[in-house]
């Protein structure tokens, strides 16, 4: 599956071949989100038009207006006629003509968990699609609506987490240990309005009192619940792709480990997963996966890295994820082009690859500065 973009926003030349797990890295404002949104556009254009039509949105067949509705207010100028190019699986996508025709009724198959997911929960309840203004990006509106629909599966007074129908016990254990600690996520009613709260004993904390990490994580958890439904279903059959932006937001490194392990579960269950990230921890895990596989390490080695218990289901997860194809792309701010840095070769002459797209540059400069200071300490002492 190949996505090619030219001269769109900050992107001059993006050429991406997706693996089972694909990761985008690069500084802020280099086009990572735009590329992910174009992936959804490539796969789900019909479904997006269908959804927009259902909520009364009308772009009158005009590309600029559609871009304002889809990417958000102010993004109408992303596309430059005569310069911008958009190809999917090697063929050009004729956006102008496709947007003028009626959608073919195909359901969407990309589940997108956006970076702004914290906005999906206002006062502890997911907002419906129509609660947002038309200038809010489509991906946020739709994610929020998906969560609102998911809430129909829970009863007032019920516990959403930990709850044995949702996620296997190993993941629940790790999430309790690394994220929720003593708190439960519960649905209650306050002044006739349902809302999610964090409960510990009799203490009940509403959304606005949660920490930044808790506010970032709960929408992500609900998104994972959507994707990993209770048995007997292994996955949502119509969803083929999962996009997860910045899984690390607000999370301690131990929590990031747990979420990354759950991302591996998504891959093993057959979803094609795309991440964007600003944390070296994700690339460190992928670098390790590569070398563990190359050296025929046991699944225990991978689970040991995550400090995860070696149970039969996690063993199967580790065994399977080590067979999956992983791709990493660096979005270069200088050239506006993407580079395939999947080898994550720390010895590479390519600065983008050896510095892992900028994620380990600071660490490298730290080492250089301290090593130099130590090497010259005696000299400074004499001076």
């Amino acid at each position: 599956m190949r996505l090619q973009l030219k001269n769109i926003g900050q992107i001059t030349d993006a050429d991406i071949r997706f693996g089972d797990l694909t990761v985008f890295v690069g500084p802020q404002a280099t086009g990572k989100t735009i590329a992910l949104e174009f992936l959804k556009l490539a796969v789900d254009l019909d479904g997006i038009q269908e959804t927009m039509g259902r909520y009364g949105l009308d772009w009158s067949g005009e590309l600029r207006d559609f871009f304002g509705l889809y990417f958000g207010e102010g993004m109408q100028g992303l596309w430059q006629d005569g310069r911008s190019e958009f190809r999917w699986r090697g063929s050009p996508v004729p956006l102008n003509s496709l947007l003028k025709r009626s959608p073919r009724g195909r359901l969407e198959s990309v589940f997108y968990i956006p970076a702004q997911r914290v906005l999906a929960l206002r006062d502890g309840w997911p907002q419906p699609f129509s609660a947002y203004s038309s200038g809010v990006p489509f991906i946020l509106r739709e994610f929020s609506e998906n969560l609102r629909q998911l809430m129909g599966q829970f009863k007032v007074g019920g516990t959403l987490f930990p709850e044995k129908r949702w996620l296997n016990k190993e993941f629940r254990g790790l999430l309790e240990q690394n994220i929720f600690a003593r708190f439960k996520l519960v649905l209650e009613t306050q002044f006739m309005q349902m809302r999610l709260v964090l409960k510990s004993g009799e203490q009940s904390l509403p959304f606005m009192v949660w920490s930044a990490g808790q506010r970032e994580f709960v929408p992500l958890l609900l998104g994972l619940y959507w994707l990993l439904p209770p048995v007997p279903f292994a996955r949502r059959s119509r969803i083929k792709w999962v996009v997860l932006e910045e899984l690390e937001m607000g999370l301690h490194p131990r929590a990031i480990e747990t979420v990354l392990l759950i991302v591996f579960e998504l891959v093993v269950r057959g979803y094609r997963v795309c991440l964007s990230t600003h944390t070296a921890q994700v690339l460190e895990a992928l670098w390790a996966l590569r070398h563990l596989r190359a050296n025929r390490a046991s699944p225990q080695a991978l689970l040991g890295m995550f400090d995860a218990p070696v149970t039969p289901s996690l063993r199967r997860l580790a065994e399977t994820v080590m067979t999956k194809q992983i791709k990493v792309y660096y979005f270069d701010p200088t050239s506006g082009a993407t580079r395939d840095i999947s080898a994550l070769d720390v010895d590479s002459e390519d600065v983008g690859e050896d510095g892992w797209g900028g994620l380990s540059e600071f660490s490298g400069r730290v080492n250089a500065a301290v090593a130099r200071a130590v090497a010259n300490a005696e000299r400074v002492g004499r001076a």
Binding site: D347, S348, D354, N367, V370, R372, A373, V374, E378, R382
Partner: protein, 143 residues
């Protein structure tokens, strides 16, 4: 070592010359094959590979890059540490002038780098910077 100085990177073995670069190669003033110089006198010690003299743009004096080309894997860690200790001892006891110059100790990997973060930090605290298979000398020193 004074008789062993050669201009540019000529003192380095050919395979190792390609591992070092600079934004302005004319600022690479000279090099010495340290191992060849010291191995006869200090037979029982492991020797460091090279010294490279460089004129940075932000200083009025030359600095010395002490370069070791060696596999960068956990097994080699102790060997390189030992070489560094020998070099630092020799500098402090027999080469006061060289020791007084601004310097950096750099380990260039001759193969795949598989050192972990902990080992890299240990090296950093010894004053040694482990880079990948190539080292580009920065135009400024200490910045």
């Amino acid at each position: 070592m004074s008789g062993a100085w050669q201009p540019g990177l000529r003192a380095l073995r050919e395979a190792d010359r390609n591992r070092i670069d600079s934004e302005d190669t004319s600022r690479i003033k000279g090099s010495v094959d340290v191992e060849s110089c010291l191995k006869t006198r200090y037979r029982d010690q492991r020797q460091w590979d090279y010294a490279v003299g460089y004129q940075p743009t932000n200083l009025g004096v030359e600095v010395v890059y002490w370069i070791e080309v060696h596999p960068a894997n956990p097994r080699a860690f102790d060997t390189v540490r030992e070489k560094l200790a020998s070099l630092q001892k020799w500098l402090s006891q027999h080469a006061a002038e060289l020791s007084a110059m601004d310097k950096a100790f750099v380990w260039i990997s001759s193969g795949k780098t598989t050192l972990g973060d902990t080992q890299r930090r240990q090296l950093t605290l010894l004053g040694l910077r482990q880079v990948g298979r190539f080292f580009k000398i920065p135009s400024k020193f200490g910045v």
